[in-house]
C-alpha cells in the first residue's frame, strides 16, 4: 500500500495529469469524514477537505519520501479542521446545523424514515443530537483523537504520528475524551431501561 502510494506521488510529481485526480478519488471520503467528525458540520467538512487537497497539491514536492502519505494527509486535515473551529469559536450555534437540517429532512412529509417508524426515527434523532452535542463539548484535540480512533479506525501509533505526540499522550487524550463523553451521556448509561440497543 505504501509502495502504491509512493508510485502515485511520483506520478503526480512528474506531471501526470490524471494522477492527482486518482489521488483525490482515493482519499476524498476519508478526508471529508475526518473533517466532518471534528467540525461537526457538512459545509465545513467540504471546505476543509478541498483546502487540504489544494495544500497537498501545492506542497507535494516537499513531501518527505520516507513518510506515509495518508498520515501526512490526516495531519493536514486535523490541523485545518482545528484551525477552522478556532476561527469559528465565536459562533458555536453553527455546530448544530447538520442535526437541525437532518431534523427538518426527517420530518418532511413522505420521508421514508418518518412514515416507516415515526417513534423509532424520533428516538434516533434525539440520540444523534445528544451524541453530537456531547462530542462538541470535548476539546478539539481530544475530539480529534477520539474520532480518529473510534470512527476512522486509526491505531494509537498512527494517531501519535499524525499529531506529533507520544502514544501515551494519545491514550491520555482518548481517555479524557471518553470520561467527558460519559459525563455528557450519563442519561443513557445510568438507566438500563433507556440504554440504546445495538440492533
Amino acid at each position: 500500500m505504501v509502495q502504491d502510494e509512493q508510485v502515485l506521488v511520483d506520478r503526480i510529481s512528474s506531471g501526470d495529469s490524471t494522477a492527482f485526480q486518482e489521488f483525490v478519488e482515493r482519499y476524498k471520503k476519508k478526508i471529508y469524514y475526518i473533517a466532518y467528525d471534528i467540525t461537526g458540520d457538512q459545509d465545513d467538512a467540504e471546505d476543509v477537505s478541498q483546502e487540504v487537497f489544494i495544500k497537498v497539491f501545492r506542497s507535494l514536492k516537499t513531501f518527505r519520501r520516507n513518510a506515509k502519505i495518508s498520515s501526512w494527509l490526516y495531519q493536514i486535515s486535523v490541523n485545518a479542521s482545528i484551525d477552522l473551529l478556532r476561527k469559528k469559536s465565536s459562533k458555536p450555534e453553527k455546530l448544530m446545523d447538520d442535526i437541525e437540517r437532518a431534523d427538518i429532512q426527517e420530518n418532511l412529509p413522505g420521508s421514508s424514515t418518518n412514515t416507516q417508524n415515526p417513534e423509532r426515527s424520533a428516538e434516533d434523532l434525539i440520540i444523534q443530537k445528544h451524541i453530537s452535542e456531547a462530542l462538541q463539548k470535548v476539546s478539539p484535540k481530544e475530539r480529534s483523537v477520539f474520532v480518529m480512533r473510534h470512527y476512522n479506525e486509526l491505531k494509537i501509533r498512527e494517531i501519535a504520528e499524525i499529531l506529533k505526540v507520544s502514544p501515551g499522550t494519545v491514550k491520555a487524550l482518548f481517555y479524557r475524551a471518553t470520561r467527558k463523553l460519559r459525563k455528557e451521556l450519563s442519561f443513557y448509561l445510568g438507566n438500563p431501561g433507556l440504554e440504546v440497543s445495538n440492533e
Binding site: 451524541i131 476539546s139 484535540k141 481517555y175
Partner: protein, 282 residues
C-alpha cells in the same frame, strides 16, 4: 506507576483488542481483583457503545461524482490569480528583451560615467572643515537615531514579553478552557521575541545597561520555554514556566526597568534644580 494507572493506560487498546497476550493477561487479572478499575472499564465500554450509535449524514452519490470537478474549478480559480503577480516581472523583462541593443549599451555607458564622476568627487575632493563638521554631525545624528531605535525596540520587546507572561500567569487551568490561551499564537510571538533578544543583547555594549541585559536574558529563557510547550494541556510545563518567571522576579524587574525609563525621561524634561532630580542624585 501503580497497577491501576498502568491498567487504565491500557483500557483504550483493550477495548479495540490491540493488546498483546501479556498486556491482555495483566488487564484481565487486574480487573478481576480491582473493583474500581472494573467499573471504570465497564463504564468506558458502555460509553463507547453509545458512541457507536452515531451516524454521519452521508452525502449523495452526485456529491461525490462532482467532487473532483468542484475541486478542479477551485484550483483553476486560484491558479488564475497567480499570473497577475507575475505580470509586472514579465513586462519588465520583456521591455529589455525588445529594446534595441545599441540603446542598452548607451544607457549602460551613461550610468558608468555618472557613477565614475560621483565616486571621483567623493574621494579626491579636498575635505573642508565645514564638510568634516557636517560629516561629524551626521555621524552623531545617526548614532542618536540608532540609540533611540534601540531603546524603542528594547521597550517593545519587554512590553510584548510582559503580555505573554501575564497571559500565562493569569491562566487558571481549573476554571478556564486551555484554548483560551491561544498557545500557537503565543509560541509564534515567543519565537519572534527570542530572535529579537539576540539582536538586543548584541546591541547592549554599554555597561550602564547591565540590568537591561539581565532582564532580556531572563525573558529569553522564559520565552524559549513557552515556545517549546507541547500543548495547551501540558499543565505541568505551564506551571514550571510560571514558577520560573516567579523565581526570577521577572515582573518586578520589568517594573523596575519601566520606572528607570520613566525617571530618565523625567530627567531629560525637568530642570536640574527640581526636587525629583535631587532625589535621584541621592
Amino acid at each position: 506507576m501503580s497497577d491501576c494507572k498502568k491498567c487504565q493506560d491500557l483500557f483504550c487498546e483493550a477495548f479495540y483488542e490491540e493488546l498483546n497476550a501479556e498486556q491482555k493477561n495483566f488487564v484481565e487479572s487486574h480487573i478481576s481483583i480491582c473493583e474500581g478499575c472494573e467499573s471504570e472499564y465497564d463504564e468506558m465500554i458502555s460509553t463507547l457503545k453509545v458512541m457507536e450509535k452515531r451516524t454521519r449524514p452521508e452525502p449523495e452519490q452526485a456529491y461525490w461524482n462532482g467532487y473532483w470537478n468542484k475541486l478542479a474549478r477551485k484550483m483553476e480559480e486560484e491558479k488564475s490569480l497567480a499570473p497577475k503577480t507575475e505580470s509586472w516581472r514579465h513586462n519588465f523583462t520583456r521591455a529589455f528583451t525588445f529594446a534595441p541593443k545599441w540603446a542598452l549599451q548607451t544607457a549602460a555607458a551613461v550610468v558608468l560615467v555618472v557613477l565614475g564622476i560621483y565616486i571621483g568627487k567623493m574621494i579626491f575632493s579636498p575635505s573642508t572643515p565645514e564638510f568634516q563638521q557636517a560629516r561629524q554631525l551626521s555621524t552623531v545624528t545617526s548614532q542618536v537615531e540608532q540609540s533611540a531605535e534601540f531603546t524603542n525596540r528594547a521597550q517593545n520587546y519587554i512590553e510584548r514579553s510582559k503580555l505573554i507572561l501575564l497571559a500565562l500567569i493569569n491562566f487558571d487551568p481549573e476554571t478556564e478552557d486551555p484554548y483560551v490561551l491561544n498557545l500557537p499564537h503565543q509560541q509564534q510571538v515567543s519565537r519572534e521575541l527570542v530572535n529579537e533578544a539576540s539582536f538586543l543583547k548584541r546591541g547592549i555594549a554599554d555597561s550602564d545597561q547591565r540590568h537591561l541585559q539581565g532582564l532580556i536574558t531572563d525573558l529569553e529563557v522564559i520565552l524559549l520555554q513557552v515556545a517549546n510547550l507541547e500543548s495547551e494541556r501540558d499543565f505541568e510545563a505551564i506551571e514550571l514556566v510560571k514558577k520560573g518567571a516567579d523565581s526570577r522576579g521577572i515582573l518586578l524587574q520589568i517594573h523596575v526597568t519601566d520606572f528607570r525609563q520613566s525617571t530618565k525621561i523625567k530627567d531629560k524634561t525637568t530642570p536640574p534644580s527640581t526636587a525629583s532630580n535631587t532625589f535621584l542624585d541621592m
